[in-house]
Symmetry: C2
Subunit: 94 residues, 2 copies
Amino acid sequence: MLIRTPGDLGAVIRDRRKRLKLDQATLAKRIGVSRQWVIEVEHGHPRAELALVLRALDVLGIPVDVNSGGPTSRGSTSAVDINAIVTKAKEGKT
Amino acid sequence: MLIRTPGDLGAVIRDRRKRLKLDQATLAKRIGVSRQWVIEVEHGHPRAELALVLRALDVLGIPVDVNSGGPTSRGSTSAVDINAIVTKAKEGKT
DNA sequence: TATAAATGTAGCCGCTCGCCGACATTCCGA
DNA sequence: TCGGAATGTCGGCGAGCGGCTACATTTATA
């Protein structure tokens, strides 16, 4: 699942929480935040604290992976095609 | 690259920015934040806004991927086996 | 149906964010 | 060597976060 907005993240978190049969209060305690925080984040709160979000994902056992863009360029465009990436993302798909 | 702390994220962002030959000011403008924000985040600021961080990653063309617990994407669960724990505890249904 | 749990909402408060503007320092090229 | 750009730092300011308590609503259980 690609994350591009707080909403995506919220959905993932909520989904995972339910799968783990955890209620918001319990999850909140494990993360070290208030229940309200969990609610807000699950609803896609855009201004949540980075560290808390990462902690939440960690507690839920959700690994966050990013493509730092291999420096050795794995047989593809040598340069960086930000344009292509962003454009494609904006367009959606073909 | 697995992201577990704001520091990890900052490193990735900085690395990518340099690779794109962008200065902080330019990147900041593209993301829609101040230069100070870029500096803080690159230094691993733990309380940055989620949405801004995601936007930064997007601008830099860095896809963020998470394992929302797909059927075949059964993680290795090397760190915390919350799944196993909870599952076992809840076991008894079906 | 009645009860309890879980979820969502509201207002108040302290604290920090993110921004602005300016300046010091470091880095790199001419 | 010199100069300019890039980077990092400082102080102040308005705005909103995140925590708390209590309550309303929805859902699930007995």
